[in-house]
């Protein structure tokens, strides 16, 4: 019996084995994860409308690696005991979980500013929501294009 050359069907299945391994190395939960960003924002604001304009987000527009993306946020505020930012919530709307960090401030903070490094799983929006002691909310967002997602892999 003469040996038949491998059919295309057989070649695809041989290649699929390698593909499966690649996906196993991919962090689970990244692709198709449920997105609760809107629910998180509603939980933070209690439904109060948010204003724009007071928040500055400093983050790169394009990053090659989403593993440790520098982020700085600043909210204009007198930061006096009468009028100060109490919390800043940072969200990433295509991460496995949208919450990234919550910064807590007091009048002793001096300024409502903080910087850290975050993980971004994919191209997505970084959304910042700030709350003041007077019950006002501000929001801003910036899109970051990510080449290699950073869920710790």
């Amino acid at each position: 019996m003469s040996a038949r050359p491998m059919t295309r069907r057989q070649a695809v299945f041989a290649g699929a084995g390698t593909l499966t391994l690649a996906f196993a190395a991919c962090p689970r939960g990244v692709v198709g994860a449920a997105n609760e960003t809107a629910a998180e924002i509603a939980r933070f604001t209690g439904g109060t409308a948010t204003e724009t304009g007071a928040i500055a987000i400093d983050i790169a527009e394009i990053v090659e690696n989403g593993n440790a993306v520098p982020l700085a946020v600043a909210v204009e505020s007198p930061m006096t005991p009468d009028d100060y930012v109490t919390q800043i919530l940072v969200l990433a709307d295509a991460n496995p979980q949208p919450r990234v960090a919550t910064f807590h401030f007091t009048p002793m903070s001096g300024r409502a500013e903080a910087a850290t490094r975050i993980r971004l799983a994919a191209t997505e929006n970084v959304i910042v929501v700030a709350r003041t002691n007077q019950g006002k909310f501000y929001t801003a967002r910036k899109e970051v294009k990510v080449s290699i997602g950073g869920c710790g892999g």
Partner: protein, 107 residues
């Protein structure tokens, strides 16, 4: 968490001056999203909270989620009013805490 955290606080400041504080702590911040080579999920283990107090009063705090990068870096500000001591605390998911202190002279 075994290594000492790295902290940058000015040693002196003028009264009313807003100073910058930088902190860095070594920690893998295992997100809980990864799996090992056999596909077994690696459990989450992160620092989930950082606090900064001055002379016992809260200045700044941060709740970390798994989306904070490994070796968490934090920069924030504080208003210098009196001389005293900053106390910083990092709390791991497992309940262990690391603390550090830095003094400042305010004139």
């Amino acid at each position: 968490m075994a290594e000492r955290p790295r902290i940058k606080v000015p040693g002196a400041a003028a009264k009313g001056e807003i100073i910058e504080i930088k902190t860095l702590i070594a920690h893998g911040m295992e997100s809980g999203q990864r799996a090992d080579e056999r596909g077994k999920p690696i459990p989450r283990k992160i620092i989930n909270r950082f606090t900064c107090e001055f002379n016992g009063s809260p200045v700044f705090a941060c709740d970390f989620e798994p989306a904070v990068a490994a070796n968490p870096y934090l920069q924030f500000t504080a208003k210098a009013e009196t001389s005293g001591t900053f106390r910083f605390t990092w709390i791991d998911d497992d309940g262990t805490a690391i603390t550090a202190e830095e003094s400042i002279v305010v004139t």
